[in-house]
Symmetry: C2
Subunit: 210 residues, 2 copies
DNA sequence: AGAAAATTGTTGCTTTTGCAACAGAAATAC
DNA sequence: GTATTTCTGTTGCAAAAGCAACAATTTTCT
């Protein structure tokens, strides 16, 4: 979910001028934000990796989304919050820009360029989120563990334009992302290797078909 | 995913003036649009009901989204289209407003009020879509048929502010919406009735717990 | 460098889900 | 208003997925 303009060009600009943005740094494993209070946060991940995680009543953990540089997140995307706990957890050191959503619409005192461009591009930014979520839905709607794995591998493969790629998280987390049991996933992964459909060493996957 | 301003107030306005919108009517079972060509359509369902449907390679049908009055849809939300067929099918007579997405940003010749308000509200409109999709993801991420059913019933229940509500589609379609086997769903539904958790007559469901 | 914690890999067993097939009810079409 | 199609409801059996438990490996912490 890359934002379509390059934030780096404006970093200095907003750091000096924008009186609406908050810049924060989080260490690995810190909770960046929770989606329970209604602060209408809109966040941009400047660097690092983070997961949006849900813990449900049965004790299951689901990785709802995985974020890397320039992805956007925040409770503004969860207007109707459920009773489950939603957390954004830093998986590495993370730099985050935090806006209150309504502030994006209003011009900031200094009328800074970053803020202006952000508000101009807001629809496209949110639209890219929609595209991302639709991909997520397609994955979760798949009926078998095999289809989920191959579906996800295909996404990573086309994203990298190559049949070889690294998984962005551990196998334990992958299972929580695909909403399946880890040991069942490991078994399916073994079958996929045995049948010569994928190759795997460490967290590097290679697709062997076609 | 109701749009936050009332379109009806502007119907006459745009019908006479907006040179960017197309208004079309579809009969039940007609295909309103497909998501394969890249026309960047942005559609508003004025009246009726429609489903976004995917047919995958295994012959499974998934109802990706269900639309009713004032919901928005269109291929602009599927920038990265997969190889699967995506169709929007009218489940009843449907009135649809169709924009080319880029036209929404540009002022129309007549600078009509409807068009103006639409472009002003676009971020919130798309944001409501995000919220809707997140709900969908939460549902599909549930690990069992029972949790999917109860999760969906809870959504309908809170949407109607009552423990009794009608399902917006047939049981066959419900299974395709939850991405589960129909007969397995019927069995689980039977258990839920036997255990006194839900009541069901026709397509009307009543939640009995709490 | 060594201890502790987390992740990977595996397996036997149980439970859940899917599949196939069919009968009856309801809706739709002619 | 009758025939045809779709939908509902059910079941036995097969396949897939989940659960629990544990050893081996890797990573992290101090």
């Amino acid at each position: 979910m890359n934002i379509s303009f390059n934030i780096d060009n404006f970093i200095n600009d907003f750091e000096n001028n924008c009186n609406k943005v908050q810049k924060k740094t989080f260490a690995k494993n810190e909770v960046i934000t929770t989606y329970i209070e209604k602060r209408n946060q809109f966040c941009i991940l400047k660097s690092g990796n983070a997961d949006l995680v849900r813990y449900d009543l049965n004790g299951n953990r689901t990785i709802v989304e995985h974020f890397s540089a320039n992805d956007i997140f925040g409770e503004v995307f969860y207007t109707i919050t459920t009773n489950n706990e939603l957390l954004v957890e830093a998986k590495s050191k993370c730099d985050v820009l935090i806006y209150i959503y309504d502030d994006i619409h209003n011009k900031c005192k200094n009328n800074c360029k970053f803020h202006h461009i952000l508000s101009e591009n807001l629809p496209e930014l949110i639209l890219s989120k929609v595209t991302q979520l639709n991909m997520r839905i397609e994955l979760l709607a798949k009926r078998s563990i095999r289809d989920k794995l191959l579906g996800y591998f295909n996404i990573l493969s086309s994203r990298n334009l190559t049949k070889s790629f690294s998984l962005p998280f551990s196998l334990t987390d992958l299972a929580d992302y695909l909403s399946i049991d880890r040991s069942a996933m490991m078994r399916e992964l073994k079958y996929l290797k045995e049948e010569g459909i994928v190759k795997k060493s460490g967290n590097k996957i290679t697709l062997l078909y076609k």
